[in-house]
Amino acid sequence: MNTKKPVRPQNVLTVKNLKVTFHTYAGDVKALDGVELSVKKGELLGLVGESGCGKSVTTLAIVGLLPANAEIVSGEVLLDGTNLLEMKKDDLRLIRLKDVAIIFQDPMTYLNPILSIGSQITEIIATDPELFIQKLIETRLNQIEAMQASPSGLDNESQAERERLRYASNGNRLGRKDLKRLTRLYAISILNSVRLPEPEKVFKMFPFELSGGMRQRAMIAMALVRRPKLILADEMTTALDVTVQAQTLQLLQQLKNTVDTSVLLITHDLAVVAEVCDRVAVMYAGNVVEVADVEELFKNPLHPYTQGLLASVPRIDVAVKDQTSIKGSVPDLIYPPSGCRFHPRCPRAFEKCPVAKPTLFEVSPGHHVSCFLYGE
C-alpha cells in the first residue's frame, strides 16, 4: 500500500463553482458545470472519470490555457488564496513557471521533436534565471564538495569555481558562462533524479531517440525542475505499458515527498487510484460528484455513479455475462440533462433529481457527495 505523509490542513488549490462553456459550430458545449475541488498541501488527489467528463478541461482552466473558443462563465480558482482567474496574462505565465506544472498524457506529441531534451529543460531556467539561481548554485556546490571528498580531491579549476559560486550566492553577479554550465549541470541532475540512465547522454538526445517511459520521465523532469507547489498530472500513465506505468507512479510518489509538492492525478484507471492516491474525487459530465479518502471511497461508495463505476471493473471471478455496467451513455453536453446530470442513467433516481441540481456536501468527515439520496 502507499505510504502516506500526515497531510497538513491548508489547501494548495481550491476550485469553486467553476463553469466553462465551449462555443462551437454545433452549439455551446457546457463542459464544466460548477466544479468544486480542493487539493490539500502535500497530498496526492486522484481525479477519476470517464473520457469526456471534463478532467482535462479543468486542468487547462486552472492554468489559463483553454483554447480560444472557451469561455469561463463563472467560478474561482484559488492557488494559496490568490484567484488565478482574475490574474493578468503575464502574472499567470509566472504562475505556470513557478507554481503549477502540468504533466501531459502522450510524451511523443507533447515534446518538441526538433529540440533536444536538455534544451527543453534548460529553456525553463533561462526564462527567469533569478528564480532558480540559488538552487543552481547549491547543486553545483554540493557536487564540488562531493568531488573534494573523493580520493582525487579538488583541482584548481573547481576551486576557483567554488569561490565564484560562493561570491555569487551572496546576491552578487554570476558570469554568463558559469550560468550556462550550472544550468546544464542542474538539468542533468534533475534527469538523474527521475532515474533516467546516463543523464548526460539523455541531455543531448532528441525525443524520438527515447522510449515512451523515458520520454514521460523527461516530462516529469520538466515539471520538477520548477519545484512547483502543485503538479497536475493529466493521464500521465495512460500511454505507457503496465510495468512502466507502475515504475512511473512510484517515481511520482517518491518525488512528491522529496520535493514537497501536491499532486492532482487525473486518470480513468481505478487501479492507479487505489495504488497511489490519498484522496479521490469522482467526476461525471462536468461535475465532481463524490470526494473521499481512498479507502473510504472503495469501502463505502455513496454516489450511484461511483457505485456503478466500482461495480463495472472487470473481475476475474465473475463471468462476462454477469458483469454489470452503467446503463445508457455519456450525455450530450450541448443539451445536457436537466437537474442532476446523472439522473437518466441512475438506478436510484427519484422525482427531485430531474428538477433540481445537487451540490457537494459533507456526509461524513472528509466524505462529500453530490446526491439528493443523502439529504439536502
Partner: protein
C-alpha cells in the same frame, strides 16, 4: 547533379539544332568576311558538316551526307564549350565584337544583384507576415496579410512593375523629376538620385557591393534607389507565395500539442512562437526555396525588360530574337547550376534544422 546539367544541355541542343537550319550553328563562330570555302571548313571543324561534304551550298541546303548526325554535332559542340569556346555573341549592336562568355558574365552580376535583393525582400517580408497572420488568425492583421499575399501571387509582374513606374516616376514628382528612376541600374534622372555619383572600382562585379568596397556611398545610394522598384516587382510574387506557406505551416504547428506544453512551462510568448513554433514551421518553406530561386531567376527576364535593367534576362530576349543559341544555352546552364546548388544547400539546411532527418 552533373547529370542534370548534361541532360539539360542535351535537351536545349537537340531542340535548337534539331529544329533550326544547320547554317545557324555557324553564326557565333563566323567572321563575315570569310568565303564559302572558309565557311565549309569552319563547319567541318565545328563538327556540323561531314568531311565528305562537297561545298558550302550543299551544306547550307542540308543535302544528305553533308550534315553530321545530331549526337555527333553535340559532341563537337561539347568539346568546344568545355574548352571555354562559346563563340562570339550575336546580340544586336555588339555582334562579333565580344565572346558570348564575356558578354554573359559582364551582364550577369546585374541580374544576380536584382535576384539577391528580391530574395532578401522575400524572406524579410514573407516570414514575418506569415507569422503575424498565423498568430492573429482571423483578425485584422491576418486578413490584411492574406490580401497582400493573395494579391502578390495573382498580380502579373510586368503590370506591377509598370504600375510602380507610373506611380513613382510619373505621378509622384518632386522638382520636376519622378521620385525614383524608371530604368537602368545606373541613374538617369530621379528626384532622389545623386547627380554625379562618381566612379567605383570593380571588385566583384556586383555594383552595390563594389560601391561599398570602394567606399563610394553616393554610388551605393544611387544603386539602391535604382534597385528599389525592380526588386520589389520581382519579389512580389514570391512574397505572396512565401507568406502563404509560412502562414499555413505556422497554423499547423501552433495547433500541435508541444506548443501547449511549451506554454504550460511558463515560457514567454515570443519564445514559444520563435523557438518552438517557427523552427518547426520553416521546414516546408525551406523545402520550397529551390522553386523560389527558380522563380526569381525566371521572373528576372520580365522585370529586366520592363525596367530596362542591364542584366542577362534582358539580353536573353534579344538573343532569342537573333537565334543566338550559345547565349541561351549558357544562360540555361548557369541558371540550372544555381538552382541545383540551391537545392543541395536546402537539403543540408533541412537536416540541420530537423534532427530526425539525419538518421
Amino acid at each position: 547533379m552533373v547529370f542534370v546539367l548534361f541532360a539539360l544541355s542535351i535537351l536545349i541542343f537537340y531542340l535548337t539544332r534539331g529544329l533550326l537550319p544547320a547554317s545557324t550553328a555557324l553564326a557565333p563562330y563566323i567572321n563575315p568576311r570569310i568565303g564559302d570555302a572558309g565557311k565549309l571548313s569552319l563547319a567541318r571543324a565545328l563538327g556540323v558538316a561531314t568531311a565528305t561534304c562537297p561545298s558550302y551550298q550543299a551544306f547550307a541546303s542540308e543535302a544528305s551526307g553533308c550534315i553530321v548526325p545530331l549526337w555527333g554535332q553535340y559532341y563537337g559542340w561539347l568539346m568546344n564549350v568545355l574548352t571555354g569556346n562559346w563563340g562570339f555573341t550575336l546580340l544586336p549592336g555588339i555582334a562579333g565584337t565580344a565572346t558570348t562568355w564575356s558578354v554573359f558574365f559582364s551582364r550577369f552580376p546585374y541580374t544576380a544583384e536584382l535576384a539577391i535583393a528580391a530574395a532578401i525582400l522575400t524572406i524579410a517580408i514573407g516570414i514575418p507576415l506569415g507569422i503575424v497572420s498565423a498568430t492573429h488568425n482571423n483578425k485584422l492583421p491576418d486578413h490584411a496579410s492574406r490580401i497582400i499575399s493573395l494579391g502578390g501571387y495573382s498580380v502579373p509582374q510586368f503590370w506591377f512593375g509598370a504600375l510602380l513606374q507610373i506611380l513613382f516616376v510619373l505621378y509622384v514628382r518632386v522638382n520636376g523629376a519622378g521620385l525614383l528612376p524608371a530604368t537602368g541600374a545606373l541613374t538617369t534622372t530621379c528626384a532622389i538620385c545623386i547627380a554625379n555619383p562618381g566612379q567605383i572600382t570593380t571588385y566583384s562585379g556586383l555594383p552595390m557591393l563594389d560601391a561599398i568596397l570602394s567606399l563610394n556611398f553616393a554610388y551605393f545610394w544611387d544603386s539602391l534607389v535604382a534597385l528599389a522598384l525592380p526588386s520589389i516587382t520581382l519579389a512580389i510574387t514570391s512574397i505572396g507565395a512565401l507568406t502563404r506557406i509560412v502562414r499555413s505551416s505556422m497554423m499547423d504547428v501552433l495547433r500541435q500539442d508541444y506548443i501547449l506544453l511549451a506554454r504550460s512551462k511558463g515560457l514567454k510568448d515570443s519564445v514559444v512562437i520563435y523557438r518552438h513554433a517557427l523552427r518547426n514551421a520553416v521546414l516546408p518553406a525551406v523545402t520550397v526555396s529551390g522553386l523560389l530561386v527558380a522563380y526569381l531567376l525566371g521572373g528576372a527576364v520580365i522585370v529586366e525588360i520592363v525596367f530596362s535593367w542591364p542584366g542577362v534576362g534582358n539580353a536573353s530576349l534579344a538573343a532569342a530574337d537573333v537565334l543566338d543559341i550559345n547565349f541561351l544555352e549558357l544562360y540555361v546552364l548557369v541558371t540550372a547550376l544555381i538552382i541545383v546548388v540551391t537545392n543541395l544547400v536546402v537539403d543540408v539546411l533541412y537536416s540541420i534544422i530537423d534532427p530526425r532527418i539525419r538518421y
